[in-house]
Symmetry: C2
Subunit: 87 residues, 2 copies
Amino acid sequence: MSLLDYFRSKKTTQTAQTAKERLQIIVAHERGQRNSPDYLPAMKQDIIDVIRRYVPIDSDQVTVNLDNKNDNLSVLELNITLPDDKR
Amino acid sequence: MSLLDYFRSKKTTQTAQTAKERLQIIVAHERGQRNSPDYLPAMKQDIIDVIRRYVPIDSDQVTVNLDNKNDNLSVLELNITLPDDKR
């Protein structure tokens, strides 16, 4: 199953249940063998700021999960659920 | 299998093969039932600009895939492979 298939199956189910507008952002950073810095924590806020240019979001509509899988893989996940009605 | 497990299994394999530094960004936009605009094409360049604040990347190191799965689901995928040696 490809990653895009995964998104598709997951999202279709959620649509049927709630029909809300959602944004999901996943950033996976694999640092390889060199000791490069882990910049995902800082990048997180910048990405939220980018999204705010396009759609109004409140902080309480954003759930953030930052997971350091091991020494060289970090995964940042942002889930944003927008209200059905525009404000 | 959770989405994070998927990343883990996929990335671990790639690490063993090449040990390069990689960034993968997935943005899934589910528009629900209202006809909200599809802003992923415009958001794409802004996200690349954010990444450039943290790590130097050339345009030829970025592969972009924008997939409109159906009327209300768009998925933007950015894959960035960085050189092993800092320049």
